[in-house]
Symmetry: C2
Subunit: 277 residues, 2 copies
């Protein structure tokens, strides 16, 4: 298995500000990239049916739809609204034949200091949509986010937490492994092994970028693969050994790269994917 | 134990830019704060002997000296220099009768992507200074730092890692529990219990501040207690139940609070310590 290099998928937020979904699809086709990961706001602009046709006609596969989740809310009405929104996200994921619906699970409800409570709300939310996901044949992929987003974006911050939820809820829910969020975790290797041991299909997605040594911004300073400190071949080996089959999805949220020419960014992604991932 | 409120100690970096160590000591005395935590750069400006006398005359206790650590380096000479610097830090900690020497252990050597290797260097570094710390009767306190500092400041990012090192190295090395770095960790309660069970004195220091919901800066946006999302009474209860006896050391690295009048900041720390901690 040592020589597998996962094909590249282009998460469209890598060119968030300059490309529509149609332009991102055309960009992938132009550069020979075979996978794409749309975001729902861009998908809504394009329309699901139109997007599905464009993606199909370009010969692309969808490595994942970003994103469902955001389950915690201050009251029951808010949590119900979140679940309804996730059901719409599921339909959209089915509509573009996504490999999975990525879940960024949500942080603390406004005014709350109860992170354990928020984590329970996440589990309850996933449990509520899971029967629909199973019926639709659409895997859910919990994406643990870096602990620096625990308050405002996602209270699921380690692979261990994600594995625990998967163990409890069973078939139909898996994990998106994003090196940016997880590279620092001393238990990462063990938890990837645990995922594979329990269910070879548990790892639903593999996201790449890099962590700048002296990260300047909490949100928009992700690095191009090779420009940071993450040992990408090592983590790739771990997911390979876990039997992951799918794309290496490049997702770089970065004001620097958003300012650049998206064609240049895509060319560099392709080159770095080849040389350092 | 439910009513214990740890006395307040003032980490001088809460007023880093406007107060010398002498001014911080005078501020504590003026406001009735009984603990202080100097930083080595400020201590060097003042001189260890002078500082020791000022602290003693003001009737203050030193909850910890910030900081030793920074063990990893690209070559053996660099690692040796780090150990020598830590031995000087130990002498300084003894000189001001500190409760412990806080260790911010260090991140990746420049150019390295080997976080496991850096973690080994940290363990080796602590092991190298530990006999000296024991001989001096000066406890070492590993301070796990938030995972967002794993690359550039400290590759020890969870209480579990710190407990593992303490287990391995034995008597004389403990942990500084800082809510800012650890609040998000789903294993925090269990790891505090583990620390207490192994050695009731393992928790050497307890640092407080708050995490802003929408933290703007990775380094200098720590919050005043009560202005963020950390459940401070809950974590205080955990360290109480663990038998911790010592100070609640307020350490707020914040460009906002650094710009304010340090006397106002100290007054607010005292008030919040009374009302929300």
């Amino acid at each position: 298995m040592g020589d597998i290099r996962y094909p590249l998928s282009f998460n469209q937020y890598t060119a968030k500000t300059k490309w529509t979904l149609r332009q991102a699809i055309e960009g992938c086709a132009r550069h020979g990239v075979t996978g794409i990961a749309p975001w729902r706001d861009k998908l809504a602009e394009c329309g699901v049916k139109t997007a599905a046709k464009l993606i199909r006609d370009a010969g692309l596969k969808v490595s994942g739809l970003c994103r469902g989740g955001m389950f915690p809310a201050a009251d029951a009405a808010g949590r119900k609204a979140a679940i309804e929104d996730n059901l719409r996200a599921l339909e959209e994921a089915v509509g573009i034949d996504a490999r999975c619906l990525v879940l960024v699970c949500g942080g603390l409800p406004v005014g709350s200091k109860d992170i354990a409570g928020a984590r329970q709300m996440v589990k309850d939310g996933i449990a509520a949509i899971l029967p629909h996901a199973r019926a639709a044949g659409m895997p859910l992929a919990i994406e643990p986010l870096h602990p620096m987003y625990a308050a405002d974006r996602n209270c699921i911050n380690t692979m261990a937490q994600a594995n625990d939820i998967c163990d409890e809820l069973g078939e139909g829910v898996g994990i998106a492994v994003d090196v940016y969020h997880l590279w620092w975790d001393p238990d990462l290797k063990a938890e990837i092994e645990r995922a594979a041991k329990t269910d070879p299909r548990r790892i639903q997605a593999y996201h790449i970028c890099d962590w700048h040594y002296d990260t300047k911004d909490r949100l928009l300073d992700r690095g191009m693969m090779g420009d940071g400190v993450i040992d990408l071949p090592l983590i790739r080996k771990w997911v390979e050994d876990a039997g992951y089959e799918g794309y290496a999805e490049v997702e770089i949220l970065s004001s620097r790269w958003w300012d650049a020419d998206p064609d240049d960014v895509m060319r560099l992604c392709i080159e770095r994917h080849r040389t350092v991932c």
